[in-house]
């Protein structure tokens, strides 16, 4: 049994299920009792009351710290930071406290906190409401980082994140929020650290995260018309990271393109590239391609933002570069989004 529902509804349903199952689960954040700007938490305060679905002042550092303290004291808070761009205000709490409390206490403290936030561009949000900052989080031992690419995964991964005994940052994508997908009627947790092979193929592997998974599928369809069969893998969680599934695929396809919406420079794709070449250098027939945004703040002007955003076309181009002739020594795919507009 499944229901066709949007990404936001799927996340909201996973939250409601968790709150029904465990009275320690609380939702806090700015405007969450009213549903938040994208309606993700809509309906929760009506069912569970405004104590368990608690609006907070606009104080990201304090509310993150409060959630950490409550988690250490036996609660299982789900904290919303409205935009990942605002996470900068809470990074001390997340990086220096949540991520380290378990280790610093020699295992005595646990922080079963889910920090929900959303990132991504494409909605004319400008430079401070559109970023993809997940690579910062993956650099901090002690945090788990989840990036669901669709409604069904969002529901199952949220269920798992709430059950996890440690801090999990759950990065949604605003441009996916109102896309529909079949979501199981009974939401089962999806184990964190298991990649999903979204499409199989033998010619090239595309590892894509969040919104870029859909773009990779569109690219694969276009490439298939040229006789290139792409395998598309969604890691689903960046920490823990399922390298094995990717390496096994690359051993078969011998080519890899890594795609995310974040800027290429210093992006998580670099970690994937490094890990894969260490594990499977001899299996690679071409340099690994990277697709991401150019190294510039996200522009507001609609034609500029459209040109800036990586998508299907950049993926198709990247695969073609790997697939034709001898391995190239070209620089990674930085800035091509703008020049090809």
């Amino acid at each position: 049994m499944s229901r066709n529902e949007t990404y936001v509804k799927a996340v909201g349903r996973a939250l409601a299920d968790a709150m029904r199952a465990d009275e320690r689960v609380f939702v806090i954040g700015e405007d969450v009792a009213e549903g938040g700007p994208y309606t993700t938490t809509a309906g929760l305060s009506e069912e569970f009351g405004r104590e368990r679905v608690r609006n907070t002042p606009i104080s990201e550092a304090a509310i993150t710290g409060v959630a950490i303290g409550a988690a250490q004291s036996g609660m299982r808070p789900v904290l919303e930071i409205m935009y990942i761009d605002f996470l900068t205000l809470a990074l001390d709490q997340l990086v220096n406290a949540a991520a380290k409390a378990h280790a610093m206490s020699g295992g005595q403290l646990t922080v079963p906190l889910v920090l929900r936030t959303q990132g991504g561009a494409g909605q004319r949000g400008g430079a401070q409401h559109s970023q993809s900052l997940e690579s910062w989080l993956t650099h901090v031992p002690g945090l788990k980082v989840v990036m669901p690419s669709g409604a069904a995964d969002a529901a199952g991964l949220m269920a798992a994140a709430i059950l996890d005994p440690g801090p999990v940052v759950f990065v949604e994508h605003k441009a996916l929020y109102f896309r529909r997908e079949d979501v199981p009627e009974t939401i089962e947790p999806i184990e964190l650290g298991r990649a999903r092979t979204v499409r199989t193929g033998d010619d090239v592997t595309i590892v894509a995260t969040s919104r870029m998974v859909g773009e990779a599928l569109a690219a694969a369809q276009e490439l298939a018309e040229e006789g290139i069969e792409a395998e598309v893998i969604d890691p689903r969680t960046l920490v823990p990271f399922d390298l094995d599934t990717i390496v096994a695929s690359v051993r078969r396809t011998n080519r890899l393109v890594v795609a995310h919406e974040a800027v290429v420079h210093g992006g998580f794709g670099a970690e994937v590239v490094a890990a894969v070449q260490e594990a499977a250098f001899d299996d690679l027939d071409a340099p690994i391609g990277r697709v991401g945004a150019p190294f510039a703040p996200i522009p507001f002007s609609p034609p500029l933002e459209d040109a800036y955003l990586p998508g299907r076309q950049q993926l198709v181009d990247a695969v073609r570069r790997l697939s034709v002739g001898s391995p190239s020594l070209r620089l990674p795919y930085i800035g091509a989004g703008l020049t090809s507009a």
Partner: protein, 339 residues
């Protein structure tokens, strides 16, 4: 711990904290190389710590800063495990992974510390939120220094705590110094000659300023605030005026290069020997010893016996720390994620 101040208990805990800190300090000379990294001592702050902690009951919790050796000692944590932690040993309170700045003993109500100024204040509010939900009238004490009251986390958290009427008492230990800088140089209220407890008025909560050198005065002020919190009336800001008798901290890194002032900053930086001499004259530990003897709570012999027991206990803690092994190397990776 009773609601009436138990002067013998207070004196005993004050002496234990003083002796523990003295032994940490002496480790640098008696056993060079055994302590690396940072330590921050609470000698001089004992009365404030003990007077505050004396108001707690089972189920209450405490969070503090990196100057954290005093609270757990008064709350029942083993001095052996604490000293071993400060020495980085496997038998340490946090298995050697936390260190001096990160003592944590949740089983005894000590929910931990932070090494970042002001960071722990919202954690304490979160613990108070959890206490409010549990509904057992448990209270949380949040300890921090005057310097932390210039951090955003302080102001954001006081607003949240007051708004939600959280069962928490904010105990600001004002020792007059932000490492080296003196309060009046960096605090607008201090510069205007105001008590720092005035900051409470911005958040619609009571603020009081007390002599942190008198454990009974601390017990009464913090006790009233704790009762208010237990009764569901929300938080209080208590400014407890103290004087730390050691320099801000010791930092021994790299090996053999001491990056600290051997004496308090008043002397080393400002050449204000009179300020420091006055602080010594007001040292709360001999003050308390004089008080318990003069009030007939203890005889002079009994007071000395308690002091000797503290010396023996802390000597044993030093020996325990020295004798303990370092952790196995794979312990470094053992607590990244909870399981």
């Amino acid at each position: 711990m009773s609601s009436k101040p138990d002067l013998t208990w207070m004196y005993t805990q004050m002496v234990r904290i003083r002796e523990f800190e003295e032994r940490v300090k002496r480790t640098f000379t008696d056993h060079p190389g055994v302590i690396r990294g940072h330590t921050h001592l609470a000698d001089g702050v004992e009365a404030s710590i003990v007077g505050s902690v004396s108001t707690l009951r089972e189920g209450d919790q405490v969070l503090a800063t990196y100057r954290c050796h005093g609270y757990p000692l008064a709350m029942g944590t083993s001095a052996d495990a604490m000293m071993a932690e400060i020495y980085g040993k496997a038998t340490g309170l946090c298995k050697g992974i936390g260190g001096s700045m990160h003592l944590t003993d949740p089983a005894n109500g000590f929910l931990g510390t932070s090494g970042i100024v002001g960071q722990g204040i919202p954690h304490a509010a979160g613990a108070a939120w959890a206490a409010q939900i549990r509904g057992n009238q448990d209270v949380v004490l949040s300890f921090f220094g005057d310097g932390a009251s210039k951090q955003g986390s302080f102001h954001e958290t006081l607003n949240v705590a007051s708004l939600w009427k959280l069962p928490i008492v904010f105990v600001m230990e004002n020792n007059g110094y932000n490492v080296v800088t003196q309060s009046f140089q960096e605090d607008a209220n201090a510069a205007a000659g105001q008590d720092l407890s005035i900051k409470a008025t911005g958040y619609a909560m009571p603020g009081v300023t007390i002599d942190g050198g008198d454990p009974v005065a601390v017990h009464e002020a913090v006790g009233a605030a704790v009762q208010r919190a237990r009764d569901g009336e929300g938080p209080t800001l208590v400014e407890s005026k103290v004087y730390r008798l050691s320099a801000h901290g010791n930092l021994i890194a790299p090996p053999g290069v001491p990056l600290h002032y051997p004496e308090h900053e008043a002397i080393e930086v400002f050449g204000d020997t009179e300020q420091y001499a006055a602080a010594l004259r007001g040292d709360p530990v001999p003050r308390m010893r004089g008080r318990v003897v003069s009030e007939g709570v203890l005889t002079s012999d009994e007071a000395e016996r308690i002091a000797q027991e503290a010396r023996d206990e802390m000597q044993a803690a030093v020996q325990f720390g020295l004798d303990s092994p370092y952790p196995e190397l794979d312990e470094a990776l053992a607590y990244v994620h909870a399981s």
